[in-house]
Assembly symmetry: C2
Homo-oligomer: 216 residues x 2
DNA sequence: AATATTGGACACTGGCACTATCTAATGTCA
DNA sequence: TGACATTAGATAGTGCCAGTGTCCAATATT
């Protein structure tokens, strides 16, 4: 447990003092141990927390209030991980920036239910994910791009095979972090990794098919 | 080609007139056909365009300037699809909100190159995706959550299998839209679908494993 | 004792995505 | 033909977010 003052915390985290104070005010960073009226000691846990905040904001594209919710769940074991992730998920589909999250259509909700039934997955009925997926399908439909069940099933199969390995990797390294924090990181920070690999797969596929077509 | 005035465009799209004017100003929506100094005719292409904009913003979480770049690429065939998607991708990793996109570490860049070599994928050397993936890996490392090659390979395998079906679905329906628009929609609007299914897979997996553990 | 740092409070900034107001020109209907 | 509504275009204002900056009084440090 490396102890340090504010200025060193700022240097180690690479963030301005003013920003760290702001995160303290917003409840994103727990206060240091006060050693008087004008001084507090911070430790490497604070450094780690700041790095996590920045990663969540910069890599996962989360807003600070979402980050706060996630971190609260990481710290408080009485909040279920899935509740926290569910609320964080709202971001991607709908209430992105004030848009009142309209309810998904009944048709899409039924499609999601059928999908989960085919997959044999156990996903709680009131999970935010169900609504999020249904709304995403509605959005696709609104631009005349209905998704086939075949593609959805392909996604399900792909994610099922990947989820196993993700769970396996989650217990690999040491135990410096809590299990919940590892789960959060594994869920949120790996999203851009998966998405980028998907785009590469598409670039590869389209380059390949264009290559075939354009053979002079 | 349904022709209409501004008020009807507003009603059909569900957006306030002021917002539509704003999109016109910002170059997100092409101007209508002017029939005088104070009147223009719009058609259902404008309605479709507005729906696409809202879907990109609400579902894919894009900013308006990114949407503009994407739409410019959709309209102007001289801009390559991959360039447009590459620039849109920058969002997810780094310059999310002003943070100057620092360069990825050499180690991560090498890892990405090795990954692509193993996969046998053809991804252009200066593709934004390479840097994006390397930066995402750096972020993971910064929170002590290094990703195993095994997991990355699993992602590659999963996305390779999925990309085929995506390309197959891209030519299904009619030809009301341009090929580029379909590709954009297929890439961007399906991301939340994939991500949500991944979270469901994790919820299912964790519920299952907790169930095993907690068997009283 | 002189100087530097800090916690805490508060005000201010810049970017984004709208929203509102205004004007002059133009449709529309009685 | 005249009263009324609508619209393009220009400009200004709003609310939210994520910081930044400034001040002050209370310590540390030298």
């Amino acid at each position: 447990m490396f102890a340090m003052w504010m200025s060193e915390l700022s240097q180690r985290s690479g963030l301005p003092v003013a920003t760290i104070k702001y995160y303290l005010r917003e409840g994103l960073l727990p206060p240091g141990e006060a050693t008087g009226a004008t001084r507090s000691r911070y430790d490497d846990g604070h450094v780690r927390r700041l790095r996590l905040i920045r990663a969540l904001v910069e890599v996962a594209g989360m807003r600070l209030d979402e980050v706060r919710d996630i971190l609260a769940a990481v710290d408080d074991p009485s909040v279920s991980l899935h509740e926290a992730l569910g609320s964080a998920h709202t971001r991607l589909s709908a209430s992105a920036s004030g848009t009142s999250a309209r309810a998904p259509s009944a048709a899409s909700s039924r499609r999601v239910a059928a999908l989960l039934r085919r997959a044999g997955w156990k996903v709680s009925t009131d999970s935010a994910h169900r609504a999020a997926l249904a709304r995403a399908l509605d959005a696709l439909a609104s631009v005349d791009h209905d998704v086939s069940d075949a593609l959805l099933d392909a996604y399900v199969a792909a994610m099922a095979s990947v989820a196993e390995r993700e769970v396996a990797g989650a217990v690999s390294d040491g135990e410096r972090e809590t299990a919940t924090e590892r789960a959060v990181v594994g869920t949120l920070l790996l999203e851009p990794v998966l998405l980028t690999i998907r785009r590469m797969a598409q670039e590869n596929a389209s380059a390949r098919s264009l290559g075939r077509k354009r053979r002079s």
